[in-house]
């Protein structure tokens, strides 16, 4: 059996404990059982996404209306951030 120490916000902890108790009928170890189930599902879901092949086709040309080259556009984003911070002062 492994052991994990995790830090949660009070709200999440409260909601999780309540749901775990309700699901496992206030049995001993209800929170651990619920946490095990939740983490297992999360890992399964996460690896499902990570395991699939990437497809970038749908993004091709979404900026084709912009008549600038890629390096110019990248530097423009940087200049935009810099200008925004200067104007805030």
């Amino acid at each position: 059996m492994g052991e994990m120490k995790i830090i949660l916000s009070d709200d999440v902890e409260k909601a999780f404990r309540k749901a775990a108790m309700e699901k496992f009928m206030y049995q001993k170890g209800a929170v651990s059982k619920a946490a095990g189930e939740a983490l297992k599902n999360w890992a399964k879901e996460s690896s499902k996404h990570k395991g699939r092949d990437s497809s970038w086709d749908r993004f091709e040309g979404i900026l084709k209306h912009v008549k600038k080259d890629s390096v110019e556009l990248q530097h423009e984003a940087r200049d935009y951030i810099a200008k925004k911070h200067v104007n805030r002062r």
């Binding site: 990570k50 970038w56 091709e60 040309g61 979404i62 900026l63 209306h65 890629s70 940087r78 951030i81």
Partner: protein, 132 residues
């Protein structure tokens, strides 16, 4: 290797090298071996560009998910130490801050190459710039 933002922007813009850039990203994304990185601030540059050019937040979210779910590409989170080192690189190579931070991210990820269309990196001897 570290992938610069302009590689993604090239196929988002559908420019001259779009097909090469997209094939490269697709191939690297689907690799299970080896490691390629994009830095968090380069990802932000892309997102800012998308937002400034009226791309929906839904599409932006979709883009982030495609990046983080890429098997062969990891997002490198730049540290404060990276930023300090980048300042030294600015002086050493006469780079601007963004390019210096990209270079430092490449150094921190033990990358031997920066994949970029930005020729500013050609003056840097430590790391080789390649194009897709």
């Amino acid at each position: 290797m570290l992938i610069d933002a302009n590689i993604y922007l090239e196929f988002l813009l559908k420019q001259e090298n779009a097909e090469k850039a997209k094939s490269f990203i697709t191939e690297i994304s689907n690799r299970s071996e080896g490691r390629a990185f994009i830095s968090d601030f380069n990802l932000d540059s892309i997102l800012i560009t998308l937002h400034r050019n009226n791309i929906s937040t839904e599409t932006m979210e979709d883009f982030i998910l495609e990046v983080v779910n890429s098997r062969g590409i990891s997002v490198y989170e730049t540290t404060m130490q990276d930023r300090i080192e980048a300042l030294k690189l600015m002086k050493k190579h006469s780079l601007d801050y963004e390019d210096a931070l990209t270079l430092q991210a490449a150094i921190s990820t033990n990358s031997e190459e920066i994949v970029s269309f930005d020729k500013h990196f050609d003056s840097v001897k430590e790391i080789k710039r390649i194009e897709p």
